[in-house]
Structure formats: C-alpha cells, structure tokens
Amino acid sequence: MGKPTGFMEYRREVSKAQDPKKRIKHFNEFHEHLPKEQQQLQGARCMECGVPFCQSGMMICGMASGCPLHNLVPEWNDLVYTGNWEQAYNRLKKTNNFPEFTSRVCPALCEAACTCGLNGDPVSTKENEYAIIENAYAEGYAVANPPKVRTGKTIAIVGSGPSGLAAADQLNKRGHSVTVFERSDRIGGLLMYGIPNMKLEKQIVDRKKKIMEEEGVTFVTGVDVGRDMKADKLLREFDRVILACGASNPRDIKVSGRDAKGIYFAVDFLKANTKSLLDSDFEDKQYVDTKDKHVVIIGGGDTGNDCVGTSIRHGAKSVTQIEMMPKAPDKRAENNPWPEWPKVCKTDYGQEEAIAVYGHDPRIYESTVKEFIKDKNGNLKAVKIVKLAWEKDAASGRMNMKEVPGSEQEIPADIVLIAAGFLGTQNYIADAFGVELNERTNVKTETGKYQTSRENVFVTGDMHRGQSLVVWAIREGREAARAVDESLMGYSNLVVQ
C-alpha cells in the first residue's frame, strides 16, 4: 500500500468543472483534471482494504455494490500513488477493456462502496482511472498490439456498444478474426449516440476504434443485421455470432395526446443531436432544436439529465424534468447504509446548468404525466401532470403510487422528451436469429451463460441482462468472449477476473 495514513493526510480532490454558464456554450467535455502530481496524492488515499468493497460487484440489498468488472482498484490506486503509470495501466487494462469510456461515464460504483466513504470522502477512483488511461495514451503505452497468431476462426458481433466491443476486443486478442456489424453510421452504440458529447467526446470512441482496427478487428457500419442482412448468411459466413444489440426498445408514455407533434424519445433526440454535431457541427440542422422552447423531460435518470444539458445548450426557454419518485434525501438514510448504493439526491451536470440558467432545479418530483395537450395543429402545447402519493398496500405490503386528486397542473411544453427507460431488446433481431426470449424480453440463456437457444449464437450486454451500466456491458462482453472461445477451441485461456 502506498501510504497507510494517506486517507487521513490528504483530502479528496477532484477535477474542476467549468462554470455552468460557460460550458453550456459548447458540447465538449468540461472538466479540468488535476495535475499528475496531485492525482498521485489522491492515489495515496486508497487504504488497500483487506476486503475491497470497491471492486466486489456483489449484489447487496438488491443493488450492485462495487465494480462489476472487479477492477483491481487497490492495486492501481497504489501504483498511481507511486507514480508507476505504466504498471497502473497494465493492471487496469487487465480487467477493463475500455477505461477511457468508464472513467468518463460510469456512475462509479467503486466510489460509492469505497471504505473511505464510510466515515469521509471516498477515494477519487474514477478520476484516477481517467488519469491512468489518458496518461497511457499520452505516453504511448496504449497502442495497438495485434495478436501474433491467428486461429482462423471467424466471429460476427452484431452491435458495437460497449458489450459488443469488449467481446470483439477479447476475441481478437485471442487470435480470432472478428467482424463487428453496426446499423448506425458510427460504431459505439449508446457510447456514440446515447451519451452526449460533453460527457464522452466522440473522438475518444474513434481513438479506441482505430486501435482495435489496427489490431485486426473489422467494423462494418450501416448494416442492420436482421433487416439489411439475413441472419443465415451471417451464420454461414462466421463460425460464431454474438448478438450485442442492446435493450433499445424505449418505454413509452401512453396517455392521451401522445400523437402530438413535438414528443420524442430521448434516445432519438440525443442521437440526432450528436450526429448532427459530428456531421456538420449542427449546420445540417438534422437535430431537434430546443432554442426558445419549453422543454419537458419525462424521467429523472441519467438520460433525462443528458436531455436537460443538451436542451440548455441549444438555448431552451425552460426545462422541466418530471420524476415519479420522491426527492431522495441529501444524505444516506438510516436504512441505506454504506456500502449499499446510496439513494441520495444527485444533482447532475444538466441540473446544475438548469439551476445556473433558470435559477431553480428543473425537477418536479412525485409527479406523472396525465395528458399531452396539443394545439389545433396537433403541436404540443402543454403537459398536464398530476401529483403522486405513495401508499402501502395493506395486503401485499408493497408501495403503490396513487394520484392525488385535484393536484393536476398544466405546464407549458413545446417539446417533450421521453426518458423513461427501456423495455428490452428490439424484437426484429431476436426474431431474425430465432433466439428465445425470457419474460423480461431479454434473450434467454442459462444463468451465467451466454449461449442462446440457437446453436453458435451467443448474446451479451443489455440484450442479455436488460438495461444496465457500461461496466456490466463490458463484463458481459468479456464473459461471452470466453464462452465463445471455449466453444470454438475446447478450452479458453481468456481470463475474467
């Protein structure tokens, strides 16, 4: 351990975010990271625990606590402290194929479970990870390292989200020839078009794509397998197929007035926005412009927040975010102790920006949409919302939501963005391969396995486990890769920590 007393001597310090009013002027990442030396001291705060909760990824009270990738956090935190950046990178990439993504977009389960957080501030593990990977690029450690021997086996991966990419990376390292099919024009899945540029700049995705290409992975974009290309063809041409198509079927809000113009799914809104940004810096106008519009976002999660930030950047007149749940407490509740995932109110960048611009938090809690109100042209004009109250059902003991009579309220809305989560995979691809689904509309496999009901077809990521975090997607990809390797070769030396 770098410094046993580090956690007592040094305070947590993290990157500085640009002033909200400044950063809304652009779509770039807006954090100024600590200088290397200071970052090293942050590494010293790691206590190198006997039981590192940060990397456990165990289910505690129904939620994952610690990193599902089992990142060797204590090991590389220590190496950060001692300034062994190259070794730190080696330990990091051992479990994580894409630290450049996770260090930007992960909600950092590691920090939530960090033992330092029990009585103080957790170690800034996420930013240590960021420093390691960016340093690795800067110093030239993170370069292509193509396999020396090829197995002659071919694998098709459908979908280029984090899970598909992770599987591709693993299998390619092993010497298999991997082709990744992506229906969009750019690879990355949600990394590319789900997460806005200010959270993850797209050249970061391209940077990794380039390395993977140099290592021998083939990317085919603009091909929608199951529609543009038949499943059978793929199965004929490749020894194995991995489906990694995500859970991209958005949950809709089916209330009256849903047909009003101006209602979008958040993913579509965000995708169009990023594509237009990348294609033409918004010159092509192929995005939903929120300038001077009243924007109402349904859903209080990360995607909703991304919509807030994006809308503000385009100059929305007002932004309102509707959340069914009550406002979470500012600190952990008694029944939500460490290391459980903290159910606390988090004010994310978008909300911060909203507060800076409009002077108040955009979120309305314990409310739901009752009706979309349109004008005579069919354009959206307002949203009627109603307050919800939580009641305990005497019979089942479960908490149910009840509308509070007379609490209806109309808020002006020109644009509504639905960010209410996802309902599993899109059917066409599963149908095309004829794989069975489970009751949660995910592709069915045995627990902990990746082989689908169809021979030679494997599944990974959200399509397998349902909507989840990037870290889970990567873990799935790694495990699926091992399963595929084993099925191809009869054994596998691919390690999943």
Binding site: M47, N84, R174
Partner: protein
C-alpha cells in the same frame, strides 16, 4: 509393547508419534568412586521429592514412569544368584541383562531361548536367569495390566575380552541381534557396568516395587534417576527412563531429521571396533523409540564404535560455537570439524549420562532445562532439576552451582575427580590438528572463483511466461517479494485466514501450501531467534559426508555455505567448482508435457543413480528450461521424493541436493524445501522478479542489494519457522519434515513424503499433474495463441472479487452488521445462509452434513438462549491491539449475557476491574496470561473468573509479538506497565514454560493466585494437539481451548497466518478423542474458536467435542470492522483496531450489537438442536453420529476423507464425554503451607489491617509459597498496603515460584536457597534471600536462586545474596532487584524497573530490553562481550541521581541480606563506582528525556507523557 490394554479403543486421530515427555531428573555420585548405599538412597529420595515433575494418570494411581541407573552392585548380585546356582565370578567379569519379557509363558520362553542362543553364538557363556522380585500390588491397575515379566540374565565375560568397554561391546552386539530377532521383549539394560530398574511408577513406587533396590548391599557410586511427565497418559514400561546410557529431561525437536540422517549415515560408517560386526548392529536407531531413546541409541552406537562417551555427547549436543567470539580457536575448529558430519540434536535438554565409570551432565545450547548441583565436603555430587530435594547441612557444602547452557559437567569416578567443561573440551579439541585439516579440506562458498560465464537472464516476456508457468500472483510479487527485497524482512498482515484450504480452493495453490508448519506448544518452547540469535546458526555443509567414526582430514572435505538461499552467482560458482573431492552435476526436474508425472519422478531417480555411479556428490536439481514442451515437476515433490529415495537407497550422505528452481518465492516455500531435504536453493525466478520490480520502478534499489536483502529475509523467515519448533540451527532443520500435510492423497504422502502426518486425504498425483499442466498452458498456450501474461490476483489474503472466496466478503460483512444492528434475526439468517452456502465449500465443516433423525424435538424444549450464551466467549484481543471502545463494548456485552470476554495479553485498566459509576461492568471475565505478562498483577488475576494461559495463537502459533513504539500510546503503556512510545516485545516462549511440568507449575501458580478462577490453556490445532491436551489436562487445567489456524485477529507475518496450524475441526476432534482415550475428558471443558460464524458452525463444533465457543472476528465485525486487515498499522478506519484518537471517533459499535450476535447464534444453534432431537448442548457434545459426509460433493471434494474426524469409537462408551465438575483436578491447596499456616496465622491481622510477622520452615515441595496469602491480601486490602506489613521468615529451600505474584505489604525472607521462577509476577511485594549462617561457601560466587527469576514482575523489590540462574528479571516491568551475579539472557525483554548486578553476567545480557535500567558491576571490563547491544547503550554512571539510586539499593541490600560483597562495595564506594556500567535502552532514554523536558515546560505528569509520546512518534 507393554502399553495399557485398550479398555478404550485408540482415537482415530491420535498417533503414537505425537507423544512427548518431560520430566524431573537427578543424580548422586561419589566422586571418589566409593560405592555406598547412601548414594542409591539419596538418588531415590531425589526422585521422590520431584513428584510434582512426574505425571500420573487420570486416577492418580499409575505414574508415567520412574527409574534408576546404578553401577552393578556386585555383592548384591553375587548374593542373590548364589541360590540359583549361578557362578558370577568377579566384579565386571559378567554382564547383567535386565529384561521386560512378555507375560505369556510360551512367548517368554521362546524369547529367553532365543537370547541364550544368540549369546552363545556370539561366543559368550550364558550363566542363568533370575526372576526379579517385584510387588505389583503397590501399582495402579493400569500399570499392572501391562506389566511385563521382569527377569535378569547373566552372561560371563570370555577370558580373551578385556573388562569394561570391550566386554560391553560384545554384550551390545548380542543385544542388538536379540532385539532384531524378537518382537516382544524389551532389554532394559545389558552391561557389565550398569543396570537400570524402571517402570510405570509413581515416584514412591520405584523403591517399593523392586525389592532389590531396598537391599542394603545394593550399593553404587553412581546413581541417576528420572521421573517422567508424559504429555499423554498412554505411557509404557519401556518408555520410562533411564535408557541404557542416559536420562533426559526435555525434548529433541529435530528428531525426525536426526533419525533419518543417522539411518543414511550408516552406509558411510566404518569402525575398527565393529569390523565385520556392523551388520549385526545396524540400524543403530530403533524407530519406535522415543526421541530420548533414539539419542541413547546413537550415543551407544558411537561409544561402541570407539568414541568416548563425553565426546559423543559433545558432538550430538554441541554448545553454540559459531557466534561465540570468546571461544578458543582450537575448540571452534573442533566443533567445526564435527559439524560437517553431524547436525545438532536440538531442543530443550538436560541430559545425564553414565557408563558406570563416569557420570556426566550436559544442558542444551539454550539452557532451557534447569539443573542444579552441589558438591559437598565429602566429595559427593548431588544434581537435580531442583535444589532442596535432599537435606544437606549447609556448612558442608563446597560448591553450589547450576549446569550452564552448552556446558558439560563430568565426574570420573575412576580418577576420582570432577573434570571441568574447559579441561574436558580442550582435551578433545586438541586431540587432532582439526584446524589444519579444515584449512586443507573445508571449502567456503565465498572462496570459490566466479567463472567467466554469464548468468542467464530473461527478457520481459520470458519472465512473464515463467511467472505464469510457476503460478506467481500479483499479490506475491507486490506484498511478499517486494517487501522482502525492500526491507530485508517478511511482510506483516492481519486478521487471519477466511479463504478455503488449498485443497478446497477453486484457484491454484502451489504444493507448498498443502503443508502446514508444525510448532512447539507446551512440550517444548519455541526459540526467540531474534533476541537470542546467539544460539542460532544458518550454516549448511554440502558434499559427501565423512565417516564420523574415524577422525581423518578427508571427513571435512565439504562445502560450507552460510546462507542456503543462493544467488545466481553463488550457484554459478558451485556449478563450476573445481575443488578436489567435489563433482557437481545438474539434473533437470522438468518433463515433457503430456507425459506422466509419476514416470518423470521415476526417471529422475534413474538419472540420479547414474550420476551417483559417476561419482557425483553435489546434485543440482534444476527446472530452468521450462518452455513450450517442458513442464516442471513441482519442486517440493522433486526434492522430497528424491531425498527419500536417497535415504532409502542409502546414498543420502554421499550426495547433497541443491535446488535451482523458479517456483519458490515465499518464505514458507523455502522452509518446506529445506525441511524436506534440500541443502540450498537458488530461487532464480524470484530473483528475476526483483529485477522486474526495479525495472518497473516499483522498487528503487540496487539489484544486488535487493537480492541480498530478499535472500536474508527468506533466511530469517526460515530461522523463525525453525525456532517455532524449538530448532535453532538450519543444519538440524534440514530434512526434519516438521510439517503436517492437509489435502493430499495418502498414496502421494506415503510414496514421496513418508513420515508426514496427513489425516484427511486429498489431491492425487494425477491432480498435481493436472494443476501443473493448467499453469503451463496459461504461460504457453497449447496453440500458441495470445494469452494474458499479467499476473493474476487470486486474492488469497486480501480479497479480490473473482478470486478465492472469502467468508468475510462485502455481502456477508454487510448482512452481519445490519442484522445485528437492527436486531433482525431473519436478516441474520440471510447472513448465515451465505456463510453456509451449500454451493461453495470453504472449510472441512462445509463437507459435513447433519444426520437428522426422523423426529426432532420441539424448539421450546431446547435449552434457552440465555443459557446457551453463557458458553460463549469473545476472543483474546489485547487492549492495545484494539481500542478502548471496542474492548469495553465486548466486555459489557459479554457480562450482560453472562458469557465471557477476554482481556487479551495487554493487561486491563484498573478502573475496569470494578463496576463503573454508570452501572456497566467492563471487567473482562477471562484474564489472559501470555508470554509478555503485560500487566499481570495480583489484582488483575484476582479479578478473573477464568485465567487463560496463551500457549499459542491461531494467527502465529509459536511466535512472539512486537508492539511498535508508535502504538504504545500513554494509556496503553499504563495498563502494560511500560513507557509510552517504547516498543514492547512478547517473547515466543513463556520463559517459565519450557515443558509440560513447567506448565503444570504455572497452572498451579495461577490457581494459587486466584483459587476461584478456572484455569484455561489455549492451544492451537496441529497434529498432536490432543496429546498435548492430555498432558495439559493432567497438569490441572480446567478448560482447554483448541484454536483453529484460521482464527487470529492480530498482526502476524503473512507466512504464519496461512501456513501454520490446522483447522479446528481436526484439532478439536483429536483432542476430544485423545482425552476420552485417556479417561481425562471429564476433567476439562473443551473450547474451540477459529472463524465460528454461524449456528451451524457451533453445532458442528459441539458435535466434534467442544463445550464452549469463542468468537473474535464476528463480534469485531458487528462493531464495525470491515476486514481492512490493517490492524498492524494503527490506521483502522472504523476505530476498532487502532489507538489513534481521531480514528477512534469513528467507532460506532454498541454492546447490543455484540449481544444480538451471540443471541442469534444461540437461537440458530437451538434450531439445529431441535431438528437433531437434542435438548441441551451437553447432550450434543461428541455426538458424531449426528454428522455425515455431505452427499453432493464434487470429485475433488470427495477425495477428502473425514472418516477419522467423524468416527467416534467412544459412542455409547461408559466414559462420560463431557466435563464433570466432580472430576475436576484437585490441586490440594488445603495442604499448602499458605493454607495450613500462613493464611491461618495471618488472617486476623489481615482482616484488621495490622502488622504481623511469622516464621516457617520450607522445602522444595512448598511451591508458589506466599501466593495464596498474597491473593488474600489483595482481595481484602487492595494493592497498596504499606511495605513490610506482613513478614514471613522462611528457612530451608524455597520451591518453584517462591513468592509468585505477591502484592505490596507482604515480605518473604528466605534463609537458604530457592528454585526456578523466584518472584514470578512480583506485584509489589518484597523478597529477600540469603544463605544460612555458617555457610562456608562464598555467597557472591554461588548460585542461590534458579532460572527465570522475577519473570513478569510489575513492581516490588527483591534482594538476592548470591547468584541467580539464566534469564534473571526477564520481562520485568517495574520491580527493583539487587543480585550478585546472573546467568545468560539477564534482563531480557525488560521494560521497566531497576536491576543492580553486583557481579558477573552471562551471555546476551539485556537482549530485547526496551525499558528500565540495569547497573552492572563490571570488574573485568568485559561486559561488552556479553551485552546484546541491539537496543541498549552501556556507559559509566555519571548522573548524581543514578549514583544515589544505586547506592541506596545496595545499602538496602546489605541491610536486608548482610551481603559481604555489598558491604565491600559500600565501604569502597568511590573505588567501585567507576566499575559500574549503566545499561539503558535507547528508546527509553529518549522518551524519559522528552518527558522531563515536557514537565519542565510546566505540563502535568500525564500531559507530559502524552506530549512526549507524540513528539517521539513524529520522529
């Protein structure tokens, strides 16, 4: 042979080889060789007065063994044989054989006939038989049941054979032939000079059983006696001492290696005296004998081969010569010469030997057994374990002495004189030009030339592949190799083991990890290899061993290596050495992938045979060259298999094995390799890995310095492992096989690791092969595909998700904490469900299942929770290792539940001993007494409900502790009676327990110190723990705790945590079984602990024999512990294991949480009991019929064989198998002088608080004198009675532990002398001892008190007019003492107090001393040679304050003892003062100065301490 008839069957887990014995010894010799009845009488009296050193069975009627060796009383035999028609002839013209024949007549007659035939064939004349008259009715029934038929046979000396040795040699050959021809007869002795009478007696029975011994004409000039205290009540007639040449008190720890090497040596030995006869005699050692018997066999063999008896003893038990700079060169050369041929037989030993002409005595190199002797005016030498065993008029005593470590005392009755150690040894040392021989033949590694060759080096990638192929982990690189290379020492870790045994682990473990280090507990002491380094040696000799029986220069033609861990350069030198007499060859220990490992090993044997035929005498086994198709044989397997093959084929001494391997990297790995036969090891890959660390900037150090430091760290680690077993030299450790295997198939063990205990089976050779292959595939992919070559993190110690499963993981820790905080039993059940997860078996109990009866009992009928929790205890964790908050929380919780918390070894704040003003009882019910004796005062002991003697602890059995100064905060220092900021050392052994009878004495002391308290002894599970427990039960303990290896909350070396000790399942079952076998089970309660986490665990523990249960980690977790494993760093972030006031603020534990845990466990246990149909815990104990092997096990898991644990031969037996209060050991305290006289006479005065003096006569059997009286004073009046309020004047010989733990206000004045442990734990009282008036010897030159005086004294005064034995004032923390000379290791580990020594000191003075001051009169200005300067400085006395203090102490000494020497010094004080040296520890001096500075600044004394602590901590 003559074992007790098996009325109870043998316990499955018991092994005969687990037996140990320790004893009392004595001798009486007429120096002029005049035979008399008095000599025999005196010897018998000695042994009768050592009763407390003898063992007896559960009933107290059968002894462990007593015997006597005398010269042959010619007149007696002539008289008694006459009626039988035997013509003996003259003295020494016949030999007498003493026989234990079978009782059955037919077999006896066959044996007798056989003997007669052999004697005749050997050219001797058999004269006749004599029935030895015996009185079996005096014996206990067990002794009678196995009593042999005892006869004597007489053999005539042929006229052409010389009297004495030559004749005895003929008899020896005949005896050896007879012994090999008959199974059921034991020859007690067969000699023309000596005879032995012995048997299974109580001390008084020897005389009454053998009528011969009572005859007036049974006379002798030499008589040696022995009483045995076996740590097992399964003693036998033949295991009693004396053996044919010697008696032995102690234990040979290295016996396996010694015996093996002796066997191997036979091929090499030639003697002109046994020319053509050798085959009749060999094997010299009878492998069924005890350690003492084997040593006796060896000595006898050497003597018969022509070696002088004293010489044979000298080379078998050499004094520590290697580090002794004061020794003469000739003597060093002599020892060096013989060291190349014979390794020391090492272990605590006091040995008396005699061939009928001479009588000698020798002590082991450490002086671990007491032996005192005196010589009287009429030339009688009386020697015994204790003084006072005979009444000798003090005016007739010429010399009072003790045997000294490594020194020999010899009486030659033929020449009629005592030969001094110096004279004797110089004689043998100058017998040959050993120095010249060595100079010509002995080769030193450092002198070999480095050849012009490169040492092979790996590229980065090659290195990575090698690391993978040998299964390296990141953790090993980072947390083991790195710290060793960086700091030159082993890494420290904490919080025990909670991962599966290797055999149950899903991740790879090298074969080393299947072997667990054995360690000494009770039967012999571990050695302090750090503070007592002077007795250790790491030298090994490589090459062909010489012929020990002939003194020739060629014998020492071997290579001397000082550190058996070789660098690449060292190995290169050896590979290329050109010296005469050496031929080196490298033999690969790799084999082709996909061939069988078994064949590979067989091929290795063939290879080695070939090399041997070619004259190779140094074999280098090498696994360099592992590549795509070469896989390595696991190095330990290769070494052990080959070593055993060489022993079997009698080549071992001709060939030395050096290992060149990439596999070993941790200390334990090397320890097993040396322990199984490697002479030296070159860990090339570990050293390469150091290069990698440097290349990777993880280590900033010169490569060669780093490798050296690494090698030294390994070496020190091995020395420490050897010391744990009481072995002090690597040469003796080599091949000693002191390991138990767990999880290896029996066939593998018997084939390649025979002699290793392995009781549960496990992996087969095929499994090992598979493991090797899997590793190899990870390094060299079978298809050459890309592999992750970075090191894995399997989390063997600190957890890594995806690696080894830990019982304490985020989920279980969280659930345990939440459920006990909320008091939610259902949630707790979720926690236990995780712990007991059927799908992941992590320990032996996981392999078991309950055998539920068809019908249980209703839950309401089961013993209630309130009753069950009284059986629960929290673990022994010292205040110091954990915070005040945590410590008190547990105490409060356990007191509320009427369970017991344990103080641990750090003492306890006085305020806690009484109920607080808030009504909370913070007093720990169990008070621990550990080797450091911190804060063990009379008050501390009086406040206990149970006193626990910690013999070993799970995390690091056999090791001591070291609390670094930075953790000795002022409040900790206060309860430990030490100085803030000064580090504290607890020694590895209890210095008052070097053997079982010593433990019995400590138990007795503590029982005296608190009559109401139960005495408990804490042991750690290992092979043989049941046997030890049996001894402990006989010694009077009422509770025996068998701790699992996996427990242990404290800090310990990484290697100890994982590789020493066994799971409690094994130790507990063995203990339960062995105690029943010996009828001792109902005398004690058995307790167990070691990661007990659920009701299921407790139920299984009860079924395997436990009645009480300890929990340590779990309660800590309920109080907030999150298994940081940083207890050693004082950075515990939850305020549990830290003293840092800031971190302690984070403590959030409450007694309720601990209570909830205990209640929940009890509740869950009740549920199991109900289902099992059992109503009380007592009913559950021992019910192994309720357990079975789990049905759904994997193939690997099924390989583990639990039969021996689950088989209960005692089910339904009449023997009650739980504790029975009626059977409790009777200490007979009502018979003590204290109860009979002292308390009675002083009671009124105590009640009234008045002054009073009395007088009594004492003898050596009055042990722990004054202790009960002291406890009464403490109970009544507390710890601050005015000095000298109660005075007791004692006359005679003080028994052991004279004045132990006596409090302030009590003064014991002794006119006479005293035995060991004088003033043990002195708690404020005053002790005065001086010789009686009329003594003619010079008091200041003669010994007056025994070894280990004032051990653990905390305050008080002692004035000793005479010399004290070894280890005077060891661990003194506050008493002041004046003495006129001390033996070796004086003031060891002292942390406080004042000691004035008005005379010479022995070696190693002030070792580990971290506090207090010693003033030593250094008249010869040579103290510096014997001072251990590691922690102290020595200088003249300059400060006025010091002068005053010294003078005042001497004045008081003179006033109280009338010391002549003291007077002389005071009369010429100015002259003497400059000759005094002041010995003061560096740290202590610094802290004292700072405190004074702080006080000068105006701070209060308390504030000054705190400020001084921080001021020094910052440095």
């Amino acid at each position: 042979m003559f074992d007790v008839k098996k009325e109870v069957p043998e316990a499955p887990l018991y092994r005969e080889e687990f037996e140990h014995d320790n004893c009392g010894i004595g001798a009486c010799v007429n120096i002029r060789g005049e035979k008399s009845r008095e000599t025999v009488e005196n010897a018998l009296k000695i042994v009768e007065n050592l009763e407390h050193r003898a063992g007896k069975d559960a009933e107290g009627k059968t002894g462990d063994g007593v015997g006597i060796l005398t010269q042959i009383p010619h007149k007696f035999f002539a008289r008694v044989t006459k009626p039988l028609g035997i013509e003996l002839g003259k003295e020494r013209e016949y030999g007498v054989g003493m026989f234990f024949f079978p009782q059955e007549e037919l077999r006896r007659n066959q044996a007798k006939k056989m003997f007669e035939i052999i004697v005749e064939k050997e050219g001797l004349e058999f004269l006749g038989w004599r029935e030895v008259p015996t009185f079996p009715n005096v014996l206990g029934h067990k002794a009678v049941e196995c009593m042999p038929h005892i006869m004597q046979g007489f053999v005539k000396k042929p006229t052409n054979v010389k009297k004495g040795l030559d004749f005895d040699r003929k008899l020896y050959i005949a005896r050896r032939l007879f012994e090999q021809s008959t199974e059921d007869t034991y020859v007690v002795s067969f000699s023309s000079r000596t005879i032995v009478y012995k048997g299974m007696f109580l001390v008084g029975q020897l005389r009454t059983f053998f009528a011969d011994l009572q005859s007036e004409d049974f006379v002798s000039a030499i008589a040696m006696v022995h009483s045995r205290f076996s740590t097992n009540t399964n003693p036998s007639w033949e295991r009693a001492h004396p053996n044919r040449l010697m008696v032995h008190n102690g234990e040979i720890n290295t016996i396996r290696g010694n015996a093996d090497k002796m066997l191997a040596r036979e091929e090499n030995m030639e003697s002109e005296y046994l020319k053509g006869q050798m085959h009749k005699v060999l094997p010299a050692i009878s492998k069924t004998g005890s350690d003492s018997a084997m040593l006796d066999n060896t000595l006898e063999f050497l003597v018969m081969s022509g070696m002088d008896l004293p010489l044979a003893v000298m080379i078998a038990i050499p004094e520590p010569w290697a580090n002794n700079k004061a020794m003469s060169q000739t003597k060093r050369d002599f020892y060096q010469y013989y060291a190349t041929m014979m390794e020391p037989w090492d272990g605590p030993a006091s040995i008396l030997f005699s061939d009928g002409d001479i009588m000698g005595a020798v002590l082991d190199r450490n002086g671990l057994r007491p032996s005192r002797y005196m010589i009287t005016e009429d030339d009688t030498l009386i020697l015994s374990s204790e003084v006072g065993v005979l009444d000798i008029d003090p005016t007739k005593i010429k010399v009072k002495e003790r045997l000294r470590p490594g020194k020999m005392l010899l009486v030659d009755t033929v020449q009629g004189k005592v030969i001094s150690d110096e004279e004797l040894k110089e004689k043998y040392a100058s017998a040959q030009p050993y120095g010249e021989w060595l100079d010509n033949n002995l080769v030193f590694l450092k002198d070999l030339i480095i050849p012009n060759q490169r040492v092979p080096e790996y590229t980065y990638e090659e290195r990575q592949r090698m690391q993978k192929a040998f299964g390296y982990t990141y953790d090993e690189l980072k947390a083991s190799i790195l710290p060793m290379a960086k700091n030159g020492g082993e890494a420290i870790a904490a919080m025990g083991v909670d991962t599966p045994l290797p055999v149950l682990s899903k991740s790879y473990h090298p074969l080393f990890h299947y072997f667990k280090q054995l360690f000494a507990q009770v039967t012999n002491p571990p050695i302090d290899a750090i503070r007592e380094e002077i007795v250790t040696s790491t030298t090994v000799y490589i090459g062909t061993e010489g012929n020990i029986l002939q003194e020739t220069p060629k014998n020492c033609n071997v290579l001397r290596v000082n550190n058996p861990i070789l660098t690449n350069t060292d190995l290169l030198k050896i590979k290329n050495m050109k010296a005469e007499g050496f031929k080196v060859e490298v033999v690969p220990i790799t084999y082709y992938k996909n061939t069988s490992l078994e064949r590979a090993i067989d091929r290795l044997f063939v290879e080695v045979d070939r090399a041997y035929r070619d004259g190779v005498n140094i074999l280098i086994l090498s696994d360099r060259g592992v590549d795509e198709n070469h896989v390595p044989i696991p190095s330990l397997l290769a070494v052990s298999a080959l070593n055993q093959y060489l022993v079997r084929t009698k080549k071992r001494t001709r060939v030395a094995l050096i290992l060149e391997s990439g596999e070993p990297r941790e200390v334990h790995h090397f320890a097993t390799l040396l322990g199984y036969g490697a002479c030296a090891i070159n860990p090339y890959l570990a050293q390469e890995s150091i290069r990698e660390l440097i290349d990777n900037h993880m280590l900033d150090k010169d490569y060669y310095a780093a490798v050296n430091d690494y090698n030294n760290a390994v070496l020190h680690g091995i020395v420490k492992i050897a010391s744990k077993m009481g072995i002090s030299t690597i040469q003796s450790y080599q091949g000693s096989q002191i390991f138990e295997a767990i999880g290896i198939d029996k066939e593998v063990i018997s084939k390649y690791f025979s002699n290793t205990v392995c009781r549960v089976g496990g992996i087969t050779l095929k499994d090992i092969e598979r493991q090797v292959d899997e590793l190899h595939s990870m390094a060299f992919d079978p298809l050459g595909l890309g592999n992750d070559l970075t090191l894995d993190s399997p989390g063997h110690h600190k957890m890594r998700s995806g690696g080894d499963e830990h019982l304490y993981n985020p989920a279980t820790i969280h659930m345990l904490q939440e459920s006990t905080r909320r008091g939610d039993y259902q949630m707790f059940k979720q926690y236990t469900a995780m712990v007991n997860d059927e799908n992941s078996i992590r320990n032996l109990r996981g392999l078991m299942d309950f055998n539920y009866p068809k019908k249980g009992v209703p839950l309401e009928e089961v013993e209630p929770v309130e009753s069950i929790v009284t059986r629960f205890k929290t673990g022994a964790m010292s205040y110091g290792s954990i915070s005040k908050e945590a410590h008190e929380t547990m105490a409060i919780a356990m007191n509320r539940l009427h369970g017991k918390s344990n103080s641990g070894e750090g003492g306890e704040d006085l305020e806690r001993l009484t109920v607080g003003s808030d009504g909370l009882d913070r007093c720990s019910a169990i008070k621990q007494v550990a080797s450091g004796r911190f804060g063990v005062t009379s008050r501390y002991l009086v406040s206990a409900k149970e006193i626990q003697i910690k013999m070993a602890q799970g995390a690091k059995p056999g090791e001591g502790g070291h609390l670094p100064g930075g953790k000795v905060y002022p409040w900790i220092a206060k309860t430990r009676h030490s100085t803030p900021g000064v580090s504290l050392i607890s020694p590895p052994p209890h210095h008052d327990i070097y053997s079982i009878e010593d433990l019995a004495q400590l138990i007795y002391d503590l029982k005296n110190a608190n009559k109401e308290a139960r005495i408990s002894v804490k042991l750690v599970s290992e092979a043989g723990v049941g046997t030890v427990a049996a001894g402990v039960a006989k010694a009077g303990a009422q509770v025996i705790l068998v701790s699992g290896y996996d427990g242990g909350t404290g800090a310990a070396p990484r290697n100890s945590i994982h590789n020493a000790g066994l799971p409690w399942e094994l130790g507990l079952a063995e203990t339960h079984q062995t105690l029943i076998m010996n009828g001792l089970r109902n005398k004690v309660r058995i307790e167990t602990d070691g990661k007990l986490m659920s009701g299921r665990d407790v139920a299984i523990a009860a079924i395997l024999g436990a009645e009480e249960f300890g929990f340590a980690t779990a309660p800590l977790v309920t109080m907030g512990c999150v298994m940081m494993r940083v207890c050693n760093l004082d950075t515990c972030p939850v305020g549990v294991a830290t003293q840092n006031p800031e971190l302690r603020k984070n403590f959030k534990g409450k007694p309720e949480y601990v209570e909830n845990f205990m209640k929940f466990i009890a509740e869950e246990l009740r549920e199991y009991m109900a289902a099992l149909g059992v109503r009380t815990v007592d009913e559950l104990v021992g019910r192994t019929d309720l357990l079975k092997v789990k049905e759904s096990l994997s193939e690997r898991q099924r390989e583990i064989d639990l039969t021996q644990i689950l088989t209960n031969p005692y089910e339904g037996s009449k023997v009650k198998c739980t504790f029975d209060p009626k059977q409790v050991y009777d200490f007979e305290l009502e018979k003590t002088l204290d109860e009979r006289v002292l308390v009675k006479q002083l009671q009124k005065a105590i009640d009234a608080g008045q002054k009073r003096s009395i007088e009594v006569d004492v003898s050596n059997t009055d042990r722990s004198l004054g202790t009960i009286l002291g406890s009464e004073i403490t109970k009544k009046l507390g710890d601050n009675v005015e000095e000298d309020t109660y005075r007791v004047l004692c006359k005679g010989a003080g028994g052991q532990s004279f004045g132990a733990f006596i409090p302030k206000g009590l003064t014991l004045e002794l006119v006479g002398d005293s035995n060991d442990y004088f003033g043990k734990g002195l708690s404020g009282g005053k002790l005065i001892v001086y010789p009686p008036a009329g003594s003619t010897f010079e008091a200041s030159e003669n010994i007056i008190i025994g070894n280990v005086a004032l051990y653990g004294a905390t305050s008080g005064k002692a004035f000793i007019n005479g010399v004290a034995g070894e280890r005077f004032c060891v661990r003194n923390s506050g008493a002041s003492a004046v003495v006129e000379g001390v033996g070796d290791h004086g003031c060891e580990y002292m942390t406080g107090g004042r000691v004035v020594v008005l005379g010479p000191t022995g070696k190693n003075f002030a070792a580990g001393m971290s506090g207090g001051i010693a003033y030593v009169l250094d008249e010869g200005n040579d103290l510096y040679k014997r001072l251990n300067k590691e922690m102290v400085s020595s200088g003249e006395i300059t400060s006025k304050y010091d002068v005053l203090e010294l003078k005042a102490m001497i004045q008081e000494h003179v006033a109280l003892t009338n010391s002549e020497k003291g007077k002389r010094i005071l009369d010429n004080f100015g002259e003497y003062l400059p000759k005094f040296k002041k010995i003061i520890p560096h740290d202590y001096e610094r802290v004292l100065k700072t405190i004074v500075q702080m006080e000068e600044k105006g701070l209060s004394a308390e504030q000054a301490q705190i400020e001084a602590f921080y001021a020094n901590a910052k440095k």
